[in-house]
Point group: C2
Chain length 156, copies 2
């Protein structure tokens, strides 16, 4: 099943309408799945396919997608919320590697935490339903070279 069809069904299952506005927004997310777009960025991009769409609708739709667990609302410390498509083949959120030299952000889709989740259950009686794991560091290729971005964005 293609992604948009899948999402359409999730909308229907929760009695939400997949309006043209919502579909345009979802399409922007699918077309930019490697990015971690902010509301403003989605707003700018969706204008190409739906010029008249309002900013408030982007806010409301992304909130809705978050509620349906289609996207994850994340905060990377730059002052805006960013929305990350979840993979429907994995129960838990994927992991991130963030290079603080060049700013590159890569994803690890496999769940590397399954052993630790068992350990939490054993040692604390804590059942994991989701998680967030971000690694901060540097890529070997970045260590000694002047990378594109050089900490231009101050954490907020």
């Amino acid at each position: 099943m293609n992604p948009i069809e899948n999402i359409s069904q999730q909308f229907a299952a929760h009695k939400y309408k997949l309006t043209r506005q919502r579909e345009a927004i979802v399409q922007v997310l699918l077309d930019n799945e490697k990015e971690h777009l902010s509301v403003e960025e989605v707003y700018m991009l969706v204008k190409n396919s739906y010029p008249h769409l309002g900013l408030a609708t982007v806010y409301r739709t992304l909130e809705l997608l978050s509620e349906l667990h289609i996207v994850e609302k994340m905060n990377f410390g730059d002052g805006v919320a960013r929305y990350d498509l979840r993979d429907d083949t994995h129960a838990h959120m994927h992991h991130h590697m963030i290079c603080h030299v060049c700013g590159r952000l890569e994803e690890i889709k496999d769940d590397w935490l399954l052993d630790l989740e068992k350990r939490l259950e054993r040692e604390y009686g804590f059942t994991v339903t989701d998680h967030r794991l971000d690694f901060k560091g540097t890529y070997g290729t970045c260590k000694h070279t002047g990378c594109k971005r050089d900490k231009e964005k101050k954490a907020v």
Copy 2:
């Protein structure tokens, strides 16, 4: 060496003055190390020991403590930044367990990610300098009981 003395030295090493205001703020953090206080909460608490202290000073001081890696600025999705004391005996940030039934938040001070860090180095040439790991789930004691807090705070 007691904590306040230790922090005092870090200030000195970076040519920052440990003013009475800053010391009062640090003391609030030390006295509430189990909490994850917001700026506003620190502001209210510090008024007990230093009634005239200004809000802007709290903002600036917490930012400074973050820069010195004495605290970690975190966002748990409730709309405010929260500040978490780092343990100077561990190089990397500690982990969290967050119960979405009762809202309880506990810490795991040991670094459970050392093996995964080696794997990142091997497989991606990525050297980890820090990380953030939050587990979301439920404690066994919370599963079937009506806990104190019941999702009263909506994620933001």
